[in-house]
């Protein structure tokens, strides 16, 4: 009986918190049929927002994957002074409010900021990419670190005694061993990049058709009483999220692992 109760509570919580709001988006989107949704989605601004979101994601995810793996390797396998600080810093984006991240980028790269580059950073795409990379940094590192710890160093050492170079050891031994950690980290990073709002919104300047990502577009549309537009864009975001999760399941292990 108590087992039954626990299940009820768990599923009820999931339904109330997750399923209901997401289902409602679908319901409200198609409330007036397909046509208004199509019109809204095929408008130039929506398409541009989608494109921008995908571009930013396509830059931020590979960057954080490569550096995330490198960081995880450094944290687990190397000894260097300040390692504890590095390890703690990796979690900073999780602890820090994205708005603060956006603001700090404004201060750093803005008109009177410390760093001046030959191209525009704030109120432009480079700043938005930076903000997205910042907030989505921890996921690959946090997924890969425990896997690296668990597999230990012996397989890599065995590779070394067998004559494999560092690059060969990484490609043939380490990377295959951590690939599930990496894959999960990539999925989480992608989801975070697609959904990022707070930091990006601060540095974007919200210029319609220029620095508007899909999340910003949702909010702008809603503020402008364009309910169908807001819901349609939300639907696209939800579908992208589902697609990410499906991808994760498609690339499942094809061989037995321990």
């Amino acid at each position: 009986m108590s087992k039954f109760g626990l299940r009820f509570v768990a599923l009820g919580y999931l339904a109330a918190i997750l399923v209901a709001p997401v289902s409602l988006i679908f319901w409200r989107t198609f409330e007036h049929g397909l046509h208004p949704v199509w019109v809204s989605l095929s408008s130039g601004n929506t398409l541009h927002a989608l494109e921008l979101t995908l571009i930013i994601t396509a830059i931020a995810v590979p960057a954080n994957t490569v550096f995330g793996i490198a960081l995880a390797l450094a944290i687990v396998r190397k000894r260097f002074p300040g390692k504890g600080i590095v390890n703690a810093l990796v979690d900073l984006p999780l602890a820090l409010s994205p708005v603060v991240v956006g603001l700090s980028l404004l201060l750093l790269y803005g008109r009177d900021g410390w760093i001046q580059l030959p191209f525009r950073v704030v109120f432009a795409v480079p700043g938005m990419v930076l903000a997205t990379i910042f907030v989505s940094l921890p996921f690959v590192v946090r997924e890969v670190v425990p896997v690296l710890r668990e597999i230990g160093e012996e397989q890599e050492q065995a590779g070394a005694t067998l004559g494999a170079s560092s690059a060969q050891i990484f490609r043939r031994i380490t990377l295959p061993a951590i690939r599930w950690g990496v894959a999960y980290g990539v999925v989480l990073t992608t989801a975070r990049c697609l959904g990022e709002f707070g930091a990006v919104t601060v540095v974007s300047g919200r210029i319609v058709g220029q620095t508007e990502t899909l999340t910003i577009h949702v909010e702008q549309s809603y503020d402008n009483f364009d309910v169908v537009g807001a819901y349609s864009a939300s639907l696209v975001l939800a579908l992208l999220a589902i697609l990410t999760l499906v991808m994760m399941n498609v690339i499942k292990p094809k061989e037995p692992t321990q």
């Binding site: 397989q155 067998l162 004559g163």
Partner: protein
């Protein structure tokens, strides 16, 4: 190919793992590094392989200076206690690894892997993954993988330590036969004195980062260099200042001038061997090893009073 370590020292923080250790492994021999945990035997082996960098001292393999070199350049085959199997590769891929990273021709790799699979008796399991093998099979795979690249020397770090007693015995006999066929210079690290004595030509006894004695198994047992070796290599009784092996104690039922009284506390039957645990009149514990016939003749039983006399003893 011989191995020479000269004045090797290694510390881990405050812990002295190796304290000015020198070692000579003649070409073609099988040498065991024997010692309790923390004695430095594994660290020494890892220094030879290049997996650990000594703080001072030098390592030579076949007269070639190896001290600063990376493991890749040393031409060693290393076998790990916990196998270090590449879990995402099949058995044949594991064995082929060293050859593949050397970009050996595909035909040659296939042939060599087939030979090795036969050698370690894993022919039918080539396509399995390590997780589908037993511990003994995994370690045989580990050996085949190490042998695949024709190492100058074979280094084994407690290779049978994680296996059960029966498999361990089988594998050590197999290792000895393999060595008799290939004559690859081999160093095996173990904390099991029986394993060391059974498999090795020469045993290096280590304790607290130092070498206590280097000797052939028989010499080690019969003329131990000091109290540590005496007590570590086989069971021993301390009677006053003297050290007496359990089989060097004569046990009789009637006292004569040179015997001491003791009471039987426990009699353990181990097949051919019978072990009697005695308590001497001064309260000291003594262990005596008898044959089954001797024990039957004496009709030993708990509580009985007997008389003991050392037939051979060692005083340091």
């Amino acid at each position: 190919m011989s191995i020479t370590a000269r004045n090797v020292s290694k510390r881990f923080g405050d812990f002295v793992a190796l304290d000015d250790v020198s070692l000579e492994v003649p070409s073609g021999s099988l040498v065991a590094l024997l010692g309790p945990s923390g004695s430095g035997k594994s660290t020494l082996l890892r220094c030879i392989a290049g997996l650990e960098r000594p703080d001072s001292g030098s390592v030579h393999i076949s007269d070639e200076e190896m001290t600063g070199r990376r493991p890749q350049e040393r031409g060693v085959g290393f076998v790990f206690q916990h196998y270090a199997a590449f879990k995402h590769m099949t058995v044949e891929k594991n064995i082929a690894f060293g050859l593949e990273v050397r970009k050996a021709p595909k035909d040659e790799i296939r042939e060599r892997v087939a030979d090795l699979l036969r050698l370690v008796q894993l022919e039918g399991l080539a396509k399995r993954y390590p997780s589908q093998l037993s511990g003994g099979q995994r370690q045989r795979m580990g050996l085949a993988r190490a042998l695949a690249v024709d190492p100058k020397v074979l280094l084994l770090d407690e290779p049978f330590g994680a296996l059960d007693a029966r498999v361990r015995k089988e594998l050590r006999e197999w290792l000895r036969r393999l060595h008799d066929e290939t004559h690859t210079t081999t160093v095996i690290v173990t904390h099991d004195q029986e394993e060391a004595m059974e498999v090795a030509d020469e045993v290096v006894v280590m304790n607290r980062g130092r070498v206590e004695q280097v000797a052939a198994p028989r010499e080690l047992y019969e003329t131990p260099a000091n109290e540590f070796v005496m007590s570590f290599v086989g069971p021993v009784n301390r009677i006053g200042e003297a050290w007496v092996r359990p089989h060097d104690l004569e046990l009789v039922l009637e006292p004569n001038g040179s015997t001491r009284e003791a009471q039987v506390e426990r009699v353990v039957h181990l097949g051919f061997e019978v072990r009697a645990e005695l308590v001497r009149d001064d309260g000291e514990q003594v262990s005596v090893q008898l044959t089954r016939d001797q024990a039957a003749q004496l009709e030993l039983e708990r509580g009985q009073i007997v008389y003991i006399r050392p037939t051979h003893q060692t005083v340091f």
